[in-house]
């Protein structure tokens, strides 16, 4: 019993309250109110998912038909009746060479998802085999002080996801390390706040693309002599710079708006400046700081895709772009798979931040 209570609290805490209702359906302790809850929180969302997939399917089908008709029409006007019939037969047979290129249907996307996973398994196996094969040579090379031979095959979809996550975390940490201390400092001083306000207001709305170009200009020169991974450096720095503003503004605001009562208490007790900051000001602005960090992480994840796409750095963004350039028959559905993966990971990241935010907040109102 006790365990289930803590489970309830944890799920509610993470904003995943619907899981509780789902659980009570299986344990069978549903009353009338619970049943209504069940309808609202479980049945309706699931129905809406099916509705979404249904609409998507029909939309994809009609787009497919438009594209197919256009192809047949084109064959008819350019090459005559015979070619048109051949095209019709070809499309009906499902031959890869003449499929209309348009929005993929849910079923196609699901197929692509499975093929991407298969692909990942093949590549992982390949990698493992490669590691086994080169283990002896690499050990020898390391002993001789040479660089080991690394696997240079194409990364799988899962590898791309991991790379993206790595980049987003590096960018997020950079944003945290820059924005929180600066936010605290400018939050403490009214003069400083008004003196840097213009800077924040001007740089905050700058597009990720421009940040990327700026970072590119600087990093390109700075990494000239080193063989470090400059694409990764450029993309994580750009992500950090784009996303740090929310944290900066929120931290400054949180620090500047500490309850006057707390400040009075600190004054009466004559707390020193360090104690005042660490015992009073920082804890009291933590909720706002974390709200900022949560926004920062979601912005970071959103701009990451665009930045990877432009910076040619590996990750989901370049995966999407390569697939688009590739133009293979399943490219479109792979892009849609990537879209769902991006959305899903973004959602998970947000939930993680919400959980942390709720842990550090001293007031009981939970965030949304």
């Amino acid at each position: 019993m006790k365990q289930s209570i803590t489970l309830d609290r944890v799920t509610k805490f993470m904003g995943l309250g619907f899981l509780i209702t789902l659980k009570s359906l299986f344990t069978g302790d549903l009353d009338k109110e619970g049943f209504r809850n069940f309808l609202r929180k479980v049945v309706v969302p699931i129905a809406s998912i099916f509705l979404f997939i249904g609409l998507w399917h029909m939309g994809a089908k009609s787009l497919y038909n438009i594209e197919a008709e256009y192809k047949i029409e084109k064959a008819l006007t350019e090459q005559g009746q015979e070619a048109a019939d051949a095209m019709k037969a070809c499309i009906a047979s499902g031959d890869v060479s003449c499929q209309p290129n348009t929005l993929p249907s849910p079923a196609q996307v699901w197929e692509s998802y499975k093929s991407l996973l298969r692909d990942h398994q093949i590549i992982s196996a390949d990698k493992a085999a490669f590691a086994e094969k080169t283990a002896v040579i690499n050990a020898k090379r390391i002993a001789e002080g040479k660089d080991p031979i690394t696997y240079t095959g194409r990364p799988s979809f899962v590898d791309q996801i991991l790379t993206s996550l790595k980049t987003v975390f590096a960018g997020f940490l950079l944003a945290l390390v820059i924005a929180v201390p600066i936010g605290v400092i400018i939050g403490l001083s009214k003069t400083l706040r008004s003196s840097v306000n213009w800077l924040i207001q001007i740089f905050k709305p700058v597009s990720p693309v421009v940040w990327l170009l700026l970072v590119f200009m600087i990093v390109k020169t700075m990494t000239k002599d080193s063989n470090s991974d400059s694409a990764f450096i450029i993309s994580f720095i750009s992500v950090g710079l784009c996303s740090m503003w929310a944290t900066l503004v929120n931290t400054a605001m949180g620090v500047a708006s500490v309850d006057k009562d707390y400040i009075n208490v600190a004054k009466v007790l004559k707390l020193g400046p360090v104690q005042k900051v660490f015992k009073v000001i920082l804890p009291s602005s933590l909720p706002l700081i974390f709200t900022g960090l949560r926004i920062t992480l979601s912005v970071a994840w959103m701009v990451l895709i665009a930045i990877e796409l432009l910076a040619q750095s590996p990750g989901l963004g370049s995966f999407v772009w390569e697939e688009f350039q590739n133009g293979a028959i399943d490219s479109n559905s792979k892009i849609i798979v990537a879209m769902f993966v991006i959305g899903g990971i973004g959602f998970l990241l947000d939930r993680i931040m919400l959980t942390i935010q709720n842990t550090v907040s001293f007031n009981k109102t939970s965030g949304i």
Binding site: D261, N264, V265, K267, V268, K270, F362, K364
Partner: protein, 274 residues
């Protein structure tokens, strides 16, 4: 106006002459708030002496400048004219020699009640060992009846409980003067009574000079040695001072049954209704 004139033992310190028994001395105190329409004088030429081990309550209409005066004594509000001295020393800004119990409990909600009290104790007794400081904090939390809530977060406590921690925090730093700014104003009358009892019980032991603002006539009489009545602002000053001659320690019952009680009460209400 000042009733205690029989003290002749004048001591001079820093060029200021004061009675040895005077703890807190307000001289020609003035507070001016500049407004676009010219200066707004809240307090003018306010003189008040508060003796050692005296409990003074201050009563007056809302907006008459009671809180302004108290926060000036606390050092949280600038003095526009005149001066305030504690034991003959002019005050400069806030400090732990003047403990404050605020109207809102003003606890750090992310700290436990013990940590809240320790925040002050650590500051005032930096040379004591950690165990000694913890003992001091725990002692006062026990005194206010929170022995079971040492490790509860302040945000999880009720308003009344939070104000108890506020009382413990103020006494634990052993101030020379205790300033109370309507500390029970936000509480229901039952809790208020409880907290008055707790406050007076600790005060009877510690005998810290106390200045308390209140709106409650009964509270003013029950707690005080003297009730200071302030005239309505602007340019508020002291209108009248009433000596409350009940013996200490007092019980609420004894006070309520005392013949003089209604005389005192009438005096205060007559003043306030003018």
């Amino acid at each position: 106006m000042i009733t205690n004139t029989e003290h002749t033992d004048i001591v001079t310190e820093n060029g200021i002459a004061f009675h040895e028994d005077v703890m807190l001395d307000l001289k020609h105190l003035k507070k001016v708030y500049p407004t676009p329409k010219g200066d707004y004088v809240v307090l003018e030429d306010l003189n008040l002496q508060i003796m050692k081990e005296e409990f003074v309550t201050i009563i007056g209409h809302s907006g008459c400048g009671k809180t302004t005066m108290l926060s000036m004594i606390a050092g949280l509000n600038e003095i526009s004219g005149g001066n305030i001295s504690v034991l003959g020393h002019h005050i400069k800004g806030p400090g732990p020699d003047r403990g404050v119990i605020f109207q809102a409990p003003s606890l750090m909600p992310w700290m436990t009640s013990l940590q809240n009290v320790m925040l002050g104790v650590n500051q005032v007794f930096p040379h004591a060992t950690k165990a000694q400081r913890t003992d001091i904090a725990k002692y006062y939390l026990q005194k206010v009846g929170l022995e079971d809530a040492f490790h509860k977060k302040a945000s999880d406590l009720s308003q009344g409980m939070q104000q108890r921690v506020g009382i413990a925090r103020a006494f634990a730093i052993k101030p020379k003067v205790l300033l109370l700014d309507e500390p029970f104003g936000m509480l229901d009358s039952l809790t208020r009574g409880e907290l008055q009892d707790i406050l007076i019980e600790i005060w009877n032991k510690e005998k810290i000079t106390a200045v308390m603002i209140t709106h409650d006539v009964d509270e003013a009489i029950f707690l005080a040695d003297r009730v200071v009545m302030m005239t309505s602002g602007p340019k508020a000053k002291i209108g009248d001072i009433l000596n409350i001659d009940f013996e200490r320690p007092r019980t609420r019952k004894a006070v309520l049954e005392h013949d003089d009680y209604y005389k005192y009460r009438k005096h205060l209400i007559d003043f306030l209704e003018h």
